[in-house]
């Protein structure tokens, strides 16, 4: 069922040129160099420390690592992260790497 819905969403985003973050409920990440990362549409905070931020997504989680992390702003579905970002990594639930 989930996979089916995903396919439909993909098709919609592709053929009707609708923004894919809205259709597929995926996080939208805006970064300004290494300084900022603005994440919308996340599904909750999992972990936050000086050098790592993990955010829940619909399928898996998002891992941002770097150093001197500060959460400049925190709203129910938006987070503004400040610091020196070195890596943004998507980790699926199916093939957990850790």
């Amino acid at each position: 069922m989930k996979i089916w819905r995903k396919h439909i969403g993909n098709w919609l985003a592709h053929h009707l040129e609708l923004p894919s973050d809205v259709i597929l409920e995926l996080p939208r990440i805006t970064t300004i160099g290494q300084l900022h990362a603005y994440i919308e549409n996340h599904k909750g905070l999992l972990l936050f420390s000086d050098n790592e931020l993990r955010l829940n997504m619909q399928y898996g989680y998002l891992k941002i690592s770097g150093k001197d992390f500060v959460l400049k702003m925190m709203l129910p579905e938006e987070i503004l992260l400040e610091g020196t970002i070195s890596e943004i990594k998507f980790i699926d639930n199916e093939n957990k790497e850790r």
Partner: protein, 408 residues
């Protein structure tokens, strides 16, 4: 970042969360709709961040269901500054006192300077000003406007021709011009006296010159009354005989008073019904502070139950240092008045009309003219008014100077 814009005004608190995975407490806050910012992980079990002052009670409610320890670290923003400020009462009191003191000093007359008058008159002006309450140390808003002071000074010191009062900050500058009696110039040049109006001469007092008319003569406007050429008649007679003698005729400044009987017609309209206001003497004084358009009563709140009122208002402004502050003090005098309407009979109206016309005429002609009423030429009633055409005879001086052209 819109959320953090006006945060300083509403106030915010830095909280410290202790416990296992403290960042999850902030996640919980976010889920509950509480806005948090500047979140830092200080150590493994400690996290700190800012929350709005308004959300503190929600934070407490959330904490109750968790195992985290919440501590308040710093309080920032205007509400806390206010609180802190009001703890220091002596500071506020002294600040207010100093402002009040400067305000008071700015509204005191510090100096009165009188210029351009000789010391004797200066002393008198000074005394007079003291009587009005204008002296160094007086409060400024009890003193009237410079215009009023000018008027009062001019009426109380008749020697002053003009006085200028200017208010410069806390000093009053007065500049006076004295009346100097200028002696009339004796040598006015040769002149005749002619008639200013048509009339019958009643009396003549000729002090210089040769009279050309006699008492009971009817003279026309512009007719020669007193000649400045002495022996004019003689010269004319001798003209044929000796023309050179004309040069010898003596020119003087004719001076004379010629009283003549003149006639005037005047028209007046007198209404039969008149309304006029009479003050009953009942009054009530009200005091206000004026802020721009608004009047703030400070004394005299009740409205007196007068039917008709006449309000006189005096306004005086306050200064702070050299600036005028937009607050002023207004004193209103509410006086009761009655509208009295009287009806007159036609005869009374005619009588009043004659009196009024006589008064008007006297105003035009001056005090030296004697007016006697002759008769009513025409009388007509129209729309509640009596229209009168009146006829007066007046005894007045009709002498008018006319310089003799010497033909040079």
């Amino acid at each position: 970042m819109k959320q953090t814009q006006s945060i300083f005004l509403t106030g915010y608190v830095t909280i410290k969360i202790e416990g296992h995975h403290p960042e999850l407490f902030f996640d919980l806050c976010a889920r509950n709709g509480i806005f948090t910012w500047n979140i830092k992980r200080t150590s493994d079990t400690v996290c700190q961040g800012n929350v709005r002052l308004n959300d503190i009670s929600h934070i407490r409610a959330i904490r109750r269901n968790t195992v985290y320890k919440v501590r308040f670290l710093r309080k920032k923003g205007l509400p806390f500054i206010f609180k802190q400020f009001f703890y220091r009462k002596p500071l506020i009191v002294s600040l207010l006192m100093s402002v009040l003191f400067v305000f008071l000093l700015s509204n005191i007359v510090w100096d009165v300077k009188i210029k351009n008058v000789h010391p004797e008159l200066e002393k008198r002006i000074d005394n007079q000003l003291n009587q009005y309450g204008i002296h160094p140390g007086a409060l400024k808003f009890t003193i009237g406007s410079p215009g009023e002071i000018q008027q009062k000074l001019l009426t109380d010191i008749p020697e002053l021709l003009w006085v200028g009062v200017t208010e410069k900050g806390t000093t009053y500058h007065l500049e006076g011009v004295e009346k100097t009696v200028v002696e009339e110039r004796e040598d006015a040049g040769a002149r005749n006296i002619i008639a200013a109006k048509e009339g019958v001469i009643v009396d003549m007092f000729v002090s210089k010159g040769q009279p050309m008319v006699e008492v009971n003569d009817l003279v026309k406007k512009g007719q020669l009354l007193v000649s400045g050429e002495l022996g004019r008649k003689n010269v004319k007679e001798e003209e044929k005989k000796d023309e050179k003698k004309q040069q010898a005729k003596k020119l003087v400044t004719a001076e004379a008073e010629v009283i003549a009987k003149t006639w005037y017609e005047s028209k007046v309209n007198i209404p039969l019904e008149v309304n006029y206001d009479v003050l009953t003497g009942e009054n009530k004084v009200k005091h206000y502070l004026r802020l721009g358009k608004y009047l703030l009563p400070i004394w005299g709140f009740k409205n007196p139950d007068y039917d008709q009122v006449q309000i006189e208002a005096e306004e005086s402004t306050f200064n702070f240092l050299k600036w005028e502050i937009p607050i002023s003090y207004v004193k209103q005098n509410v006086q009761e008045k009655n509208i009295v309407s009287t009806k007159r009979t036609k005869a009374e109206a005619v009588n009043d009309g004659i009196k009024q016309a006589e008064k008007d005429l006297q105003n035009i002609l001056g005090n030296n003219a004697t007016i006697t009423f002759e008769k009513v030429l025409h009388e007509r009633m129209e729309r509640g008014k009596v229209k009168l055409t009146l006829y007066f005879t007046v005894y007045e001086n009709i002498a008018k100077n006319q310089p003799i052209s010497q033909g040079d």
